[in-house]
Point group: C2
Chain length 133, copies 2
């Protein structure tokens, strides 16, 4: 079990966008170069973030991606969910009784992790560390 590379890329991109501010859109090319991956693939990932309402895209020359309003509240969990989906990471394969004891334990553990990811916003991270994204 591992987070996908796409999540990796999305987190780094968002961190950069937050650090850059929301003044001008940043081209996908520039973003891709920094992470050393192909622009077209990055754009697919960013499309998910757009649909999740975290950023917006600007077409045409000088286009690119830009933060949307209330970007201050975007948490790690928001980004991860946008990319990976919000499904819980364990589904009991059997159907025994109303509630599987194993499932309860694992989901409780997952909730702990999500709690931590929900409390950490991108903006806060940028403030604390002086970048190195």
């Amino acid at each position: 079990m591992k987070y996908s590379k796409a999540t990796n890329y999305a987190l780094h991109t968002m961190l950069f966008l937050v650090a850059a501010g929301q003044s001008k859109p940043v081209g996908v090319q520039q973003l891709a170069e920094q992470q050393n991956l192909s622009p077209t693939y990055l754009s697919k990932i960013l499309t998910k973030l757009v649909k999740a309402g975290m950023i917006e895209s600007a077409s045409g020359a000088n286009g690119g991606y830009r933060l949307k309003r209330n970007w201050e509240n975007i948490s790690f969990l928001d980004i991860i969910h946008a990319i990976e989906g919000a499904a819980s990471l364990f589904d009991c394969s059997l159907d025994h009784g109303p509630q599987c004891a194993i499932q309860q334990v694992v989901l409780a553990a997952e909730a702990q992790m999500e709690q931590h990811l929900r409390n950490q916003t991108m903006a806060e991270l940028v403030q604390r560390k002086k970048i190195i994204f």
Copy 2:
């Protein structure tokens, strides 16, 4: 990102073995029936648990799998790591600076989850709930 079905099977099997006690070995056929999957596949999964030292196998007639000593301390995390591997679920794809801020956040969150999984033993769960595994 999801835990694999194999993990699912392993957890359920361990819970059953703990509930059954370590007197006689339980055949893989019986274990597979309860979870409605093929015996050969289950045996592959259980082989990992054997190598992790949680259970032992007995060949020949009346053979099967049985708990090993100090099974009381086996936690959820032990089983999950035996099946999924112990690799952390996030590796920063870039190499920027000594420590990636994003990585630190995600790993801290993961640590929270693992903490919870480490504290929950199979034996405890069997005692609390009267089965339904």
